[in-house]
Subunit: 462 residues, 2 copies
Amino acid sequence: MSALQQWLAAHDARAFADLDAFLRLPSISARSEHAGDCARTAQFVADTLTRIGLTARIEPTPGHPIVVGEWRGAPAGAPTLLIYGHYDVQPVEPLELWTSPPFEPTVRDGKLFARGAVDDKGQLWIHLMALEAHLAVHGRLPINVIVLAEGEEEVGSAHLEEFLARERERLACDAVVISDSTMFAPGIPSILSSLRGLAYVQIDVRGPAGDLHSGMYGGAVVNPAMALARILATLHDADGRIAIPGFYDTVRTFPDHVRAAMRELPFSDAGLMHEVQVDALGGEAGYTTLEKLWTRPTCEVNGLLSGYTGEGAKTVLPATAMAKVSCRLVPDQDPVVIAQLLEAHVRRVAPPGVSITVTHLHGGRPWRADLQGPIIDAGRAALAAAFGREPVITGEGGSIPVVGDFERILGAPVLLMGFGLPGENAHAPDEWIAVDNVRRGMHAAAVLYEEYGRRASITSHQ
Amino acid sequence: MSALQQWLAAHDARAFADLDAFLRLPSISARSEHAGDCARTAQFVADTLTRIGLTARIEPTPGHPIVVGEWRGAPAGAPTLLIYGHYDVQPVEPLELWTSPPFEPTVRDGKLFARGAVDDKGQLWIHLMALEAHLAVHGRLPINVIVLAEGEEEVGSAHLEEFLARERERLACDAVVISDSTMFAPGIPSILSSLRGLAYVQIDVRGPAGDLHSGMYGGAVVNPAMALARILATLHDADGRIAIPGFYDTVRTFPDHVRAAMRELPFSDAGLMHEVQVDALGGEAGYTTLEKLWTRPTCEVNGLLSGYTGEGAKTVLPATAMAKVSCRLVPDQDPVVIAQLLEAHVRRVAPPGVSITVTHLHGGRPWRADLQGPIIDAGRAALAAAFGREPVITGEGGSIPVVGDFERILGAPVLLMGFGLPGENAHAPDEWIAVDNVRRGMHAAAVLYEEYGRRASITSHQ
């Protein structure tokens, strides 16, 4: 066992106690009433960075602040690694479906349950503890490090792109590592090679000026809830293919060898069906499930609200109906263009007698990795060291919109090395991270910094 | 001015003050937490009946109680009139759309605003005050009277039918009058000749065991909200005709002369569009608006709920989606059969990967009047006396399911003489009744009892 591992083992209880405090902060970025909690959480991250030996500053934005930590003491020729994470979390409704309260972290069956446990506080924490281990054991880091923790990832990272562009000199780096993703399966470390993008809109259908009696007006006044249902039903054809004109125009098919590798991963539809407890899967005809999840775009309803939703019966013809609709995107779909195509389609199919408002809530570009270079090699070595086996290369259906921004603005390759697991309930009640994966993650991160320093320094001297 | 009119004018302020107290009681029958309020409101009605000189009893049911008032002092040969109304009211959400709170009655521009103002407390009150006028002025009523006020009309009158059947001897009567409907237009008194029935269900679509991350699972796991939208979109064809197999099988077409009379009423689509503030109407192709509202069945969405409905964006694949759906029925559609056809259709079109629950919330039979006999003639005369012009014969799209029950169980014809007005917001925020119509209604009701006594007694002696 290395000195770093020994230090991490010796400080395990304190690491989890501090993570507990981090998870108790209800930093829900989508809810304006939690703005103060987000600010307090940013301060918590900054205080942690300072305590472990980095400089830290809190950068205000028009939304929630960005925390930047720095350590610049590596030898000349050593590379600079930017570690990105986010301290904000998803909303917690429906609260009644949480087994333990979302902001009271609880360990059950080797899982740490809390909102943000895996997405992304727990995974950001892995890096902070690995940095502390290096600084405590060696008094230094093997590479220069920038930690960038934002507070708006769950609401589309509205101010990060501008921040990266404005601060690109100070944030200049040779590689970026992000731990905000999921391993393919327990015990199988994974490097993510693709992410889907996102175009998220809210559709509001407005009919009569106020709610009407469904008996007195029903049959003549157009019902906004029924109009909305009919609009949503036009988004797919009978084969599950998205029927928005132009939607697939810029989709770049994944290479055959990537699709072939996906088919070799230990995956079964039956396993997924068992996991989410359904008796059949759906989606676009002609693709395997992993292809549907990783390589194909989607259009989903995320929320519906109209009329009377309480107990019993109320015979109302509702004045309005709302749907939250989001598309997952694949290269090279552009989120702005897709949102525009979606809006144009909705307006085209909406019936007379209602008015439509489409609000573009947020978007993110899809991304595909170039799987070469020292940061990828270091990631493979670090994961192998921590998990005892080579990582697999996976795709993921989720979105981390900023990944493309880092590559484009900072010109640095991104390693996506995540420690979540399938069924972790990110964005849902009972979110969790495996306690063992937190420990292995700290080990892997600590090794990553060493391996990257060794490989990138060698590379730069060649 | 008759002595009755003089008495009503002299006691106008007190009548409205007592109505104010009646309207302040939040007797929302659909919400179990208001069961106590419903009981208190039943007591209020019973106390009022006793005060004005009727006997009163409160009959418990498995739901909210029924109040029965009686006055049996008319001369031999005088008929018995049953006056039906309901003291329960609709839920009040969305509260923020009320200009003044629903249970704080407020008069603005000649309109009395409150939940229950027109549906039906205000209209029940009209009869109680007319009865009081007779008893105060003459010390007697010209006919025997039964007042039956129930507390479950807004939730389908679940226990009334059984009560009528069980008490049919004590409730035996020669005619029934119900004031729970709407005049065709201001100043145009109306007798309602048809009502639509109702079949109301809740559709719950359940997909995965819990909410999922829409990125990680979207595209392979069937989305219950999208499945629900696609199910709802199959309920109508492109011409607005209901596409549930068998739905129209028992529809009996309205006679040509009734449809012709409808076309002569002073109605314009533009007026309705202006009233509800829409720029187009919809519904079933091939029918006029009044035909759609009065003579054709409908299938409407009354409520939708799924996933995330708060501020901003949450990328969730919801576990469940719910719709409240109700059909308005015309003779001879049976509400039980229609609910079964609807359920069978929903199950047939639901995709694999979700499960469906259809809960039958309530139903009521459609009704068409036989427009003959002393109660109808008395109604015409009473309305002409109070409003200064002959009433028109109308249909209505709303449902009063008990009307058919009264005719069937008690064997008595029903007069529907209502004092609401178009735009009264029954079942919606800012419900109101015109103050002038309350006064004319009291006058009409007072004359009705006289005219009915005169005509029915004459009839019985012929």
